[in-house]
Amino acid sequence: MIQVSELHFTTDDGIKVLDGVHLHVDRGELVYLSGEASAGKSLLIGLLAGYVQPQRGQILVCNRNVARLSREKALKLRRRIGVLPQGFVPMPRSSLDNLVFKLRAVGDFREQAEEKAREALETVGLLRQQATEASELSALERFRLGVALSICDEPMLLLVDDLFDGLGSEDQKQVCGLLERINERGMTILTTLRGPVLGASRGYKFLRLVDGRVIEG
């Protein structure tokens, strides 16, 4: 699903953020990628999702070289990748309307969008709060809504940046449980986080981003 080789990235200030990253994620895998602040986790997510152009190295996502895709093909690929960015803020509307907006923006009709949206809300355990305004949701519920928003269009790959951002330690187990449940349905997931992985079950891949390189956790 993801094949990254010899990926380098240097900022405009000359700071080497990624220094020969190699990363391999198989279809159906759930990968936790841990790293300190400013280690380049968000940059890696941006590169994988095609929002940032790589400077050197190769990135294959769904067997496509993201750096060499035409604009149309890049958009098509982006629709197959669900991204939950760091510090995600939902739209100021109800949970259901958040999802319906996204689905309608990519071309679904209202009925079809509402059906898909309810399915996604059920998957993340937020169906009972479908009419609740996003601003009234708790941090954990907002995270759930973000995940629902990322998976409602049934992408092949889910990229989550800074998994536990803004969540209490008691929520972390539930968050990991949610991702594992989604992964068990066949979706490939790569998620980054700052500290150690607390609450995750064994059997999933743990990696670390250290000094611009990905190493086994």
């Binding site: 968000s42 991204v83 960015p85 907006f101 996204k102 309608r104 923006a105 990322s150 940046d161």
Partner: protein, 276 residues
């Protein structure tokens, strides 16, 4: 259409106020533009070279008149104190296919013209007498060069202010719509799908102000047509439709420009899909 409706739906009171104000300045620009074109003529200037001045008289001579008789008439006219000049032309020169001759007589003053006409009508061999009409009294609508310059300055200033207010309005509008834009970008929506509703809003603003101008010109035309200011009414009759259409197109262009200015804000980091 869905995104355009959503964008319209996110307009709040202050944003709406700024965009309306911007629209009003677009309208003021269009009104200045229309005024320049519609009331551009100076009522005191004779624009039609075919028209006679009030002191000009044309005497049509019979083709049967002998050369001596023509000469006698010329001497008689030229000898008068109230005549400043007399010029003879063959009718063929002035109006192809005509016969006979013409005297172009210029009286010493407009007041002397009446006497000259009376005399000419009694002259034997003169078949017709043509005289100039008195110039209508100057109407107050003619534009002086100073007024033209002022109108041009107003036009440019209104365009600048409307662009400025439009951009401010867009800044507020897009700030209240930024989560939606980020989600659209995250979802793989094309840039065209995102930019199009933003630009369309500006075009709609321009279209509405352009239509307002068309209605304004129509109402002014109706009002002037019923009034006493004939010169203005004539000017309106001839150009109102052209100026209305030109104003509508200019309104669309200005609105489109405001929309593009607004869309340029979408490049800011605030709307970056992965956050700033």
């Amino acid at each position: 259409m869905f995104l355009f409706r959503e964008l319209l739906g996110s307009i709040r009171a202050r944003t709406g106020f700024l965009l309306t104000l911007s629209g009003l300045f677009v309208f003021a620009s269009l009104a200045a533009f229309a005024a320049l074109l519609l009331i551009g003529g100076d009522a005191n200037t004779r624009e039609d070279p075919e028209l006679l001045a009030p002191e000009e008289v044309i005497l049509h001579l019979s083709p049967r008149l002998s050369a001596d008789a023509v000469n006698d008439l010329y001497v008689e006219l030229w000898g008068r104190d109230d005549v400043r000049s007399v010029v003879f032309r063959f009718a063929e020169e002035v109006s192809p296919g005509s016969t006979g001759g013409r005297f172009f007589v210029r009286a010493a003053s407009a007041a002397a013209t009446a006497t000259l006409i009376e005399l000419a009508e009694t002259m034997s061999g003169v078949t017709e007498v043509e005289a100039g009409e008195p110039i209508p009294a100057p109407t107050p609508v003619g534009l002086t060069p100073t007024m033209r310059i002022i109108l041009l300055v107003v036009l440019v200033a209104c365009v600048a202010v409307s662009l400025l207010l439009g951009r401010l309005g867009y800044r507020r509008l897009l700030a209240s719509f930024h989560s939606e834009i980020r989600v659209m970008r995250l979802s793989g929506a094309s840039e065209r799908a995102i930019v199009l509703p933003v630009v369309s809003l500006g075009v709609l603003l321009g279209l509405l102000t352009g239509l307002l101008l068309v209605v304004g010109i129509f109402l002014a035309q109706v009002a002037l047509g019923n009034g006493t200011s004939g010169t203005v009414a004539v000017a309106f009759d001839g150009r109102a439709l052209t100026v209305s259409m030109a104003g509508l197109i200019l309104g669309l262009l200005l609105g489109g420009l405001i929309g593009l200015l607004g869309a340029s804000l979408l490049a800011s980091r605030e709307f970056s899909p992965l956050g700033s």
